[in-house]
């Protein structure tokens, strides 16, 4: 326990974290690239076509990972924002801010690929059903978080205000996730869940899960990179930043 606590506080210092993130990023990049290659070879090359949807279903290998990441990143962002707010921890707030643009991009990819998948499958790019609308709300929450933060000059004040918005917005994540159960949506129910056996062919499922991990690696890598940028910017007047430059 004491070891765990020690590490925790050690890396809570932006200076330590800057070095740690710098040495971790290459590993996330390499594993992200490898996983993407394997996932795409399985998904686009090896997996059979779908009996109902034909090959349009192959959008799933980016749509589902992006949609999962859009929700997961929001939860992680809100978590760090809350830690930053409650414990006045600068690094936690920087982590939250680093995650927001990537979360917004994942949400955009989920919406875009969903529309392009919806057209051949449902005959429409967009419907105002619960799943699609709540995912769009998620995109606006990310935009709101970022623009609120950008509009306040004092960064710590901006961190705190944006954190409040992020925490309130968490309510939207379970709404997105359970929307296909709670309401009668055009969007299909979950293909994969923790409680039931998956309803997909093994190759489809493995391709999709590998792409999920690839998206994880990508998101962690870019968020860490962005966090390093933020640390440089905010700690610019410290001796250690002047030394690492």
């Amino acid at each position: 326990m004491s070891l765990l606590n020690l590490n925790w506080f050690k890396y809570a210092a932006p200076q330590r974290f800057y070095g740690l993130a710098g040495s971790l990023i290459p590993w996330f990049v390499v594993s992200g690239v490898i996983l993407t290659i394997i996932g795409l070879v399985i998904g686009l090359g090896i997996a059979p076509t779908d009996h109902q949807q034909g090959d349009s279903y192959r959008i799933i290998f980016i749509h589902v990972p992006a949609a999962w990441m859009s929700m997961l990143i929001y939860l992680v962002m809100a978590f760090w924002a809350a830690i930053g707010l409650i414990f006045n921890a600068r690094l936690a707030s920087m982590l939250a801010l680093s995650l927001a643009p990537t979360g917004a991009i994942m949400t955009f990819i989920a919406l875009w690929t969903g529309a392009v998948w919806g057209k051949p499958t449902w005959g429409t790019w967009w419907v105002w059903d619960a799943r699609l609308t709540s995912e769009l709300v998620l995109l606006f929450l990310y935009f709101g978080f970022l623009s609120l933060h950008a509009s306040i000059e004092d960064v710590r004040k901006a961190d705190r205000s944006a954190a409040l918005l992020a925490i309130v917005g968490v309510i939207n994540v379970p709404i997105i996730y359970f929307s296909v159960k709670w309401w009668n949506t055009l969007h299909q129910g979950a293909s994969v869940s923790l409680t039931k056996a998956p309803t997909m062919a093994t190759q489809m499922l493995s391709g999709m899960l590998i792409m999920v991990f690839a998206f994880w690696m990508y998101s962690i890598a870019v968020a860490l990179y962005r966090c390093r940028n933020l640390i440089l910017e905010r700690e610019r007047h410290t001796d250690w930043v002047q030394e690492v430059l």
Binding site: A47, P48, S56, I109, T113, V116, K119, L232, V241
Partner: protein, 59 residues
Amino acid sequence: MFYWSSFSDFLHMGGYALFVWGSYLVTILAVVIEIALLRSRNKALRKTLISEIRESQKN
């Protein structure tokens, strides 16, 4: 091992080429743009900070 019998089959995506490749293209673009923006931000930041340090050393 591969599902497709030819490369043009693969590109054709069973008639859904526009939808499938349209999705992948936009995703790749989004990723490339995000990485490019992050790197250029890093470069610009380093440049400004280094010149700031030089300025302060002069005074």
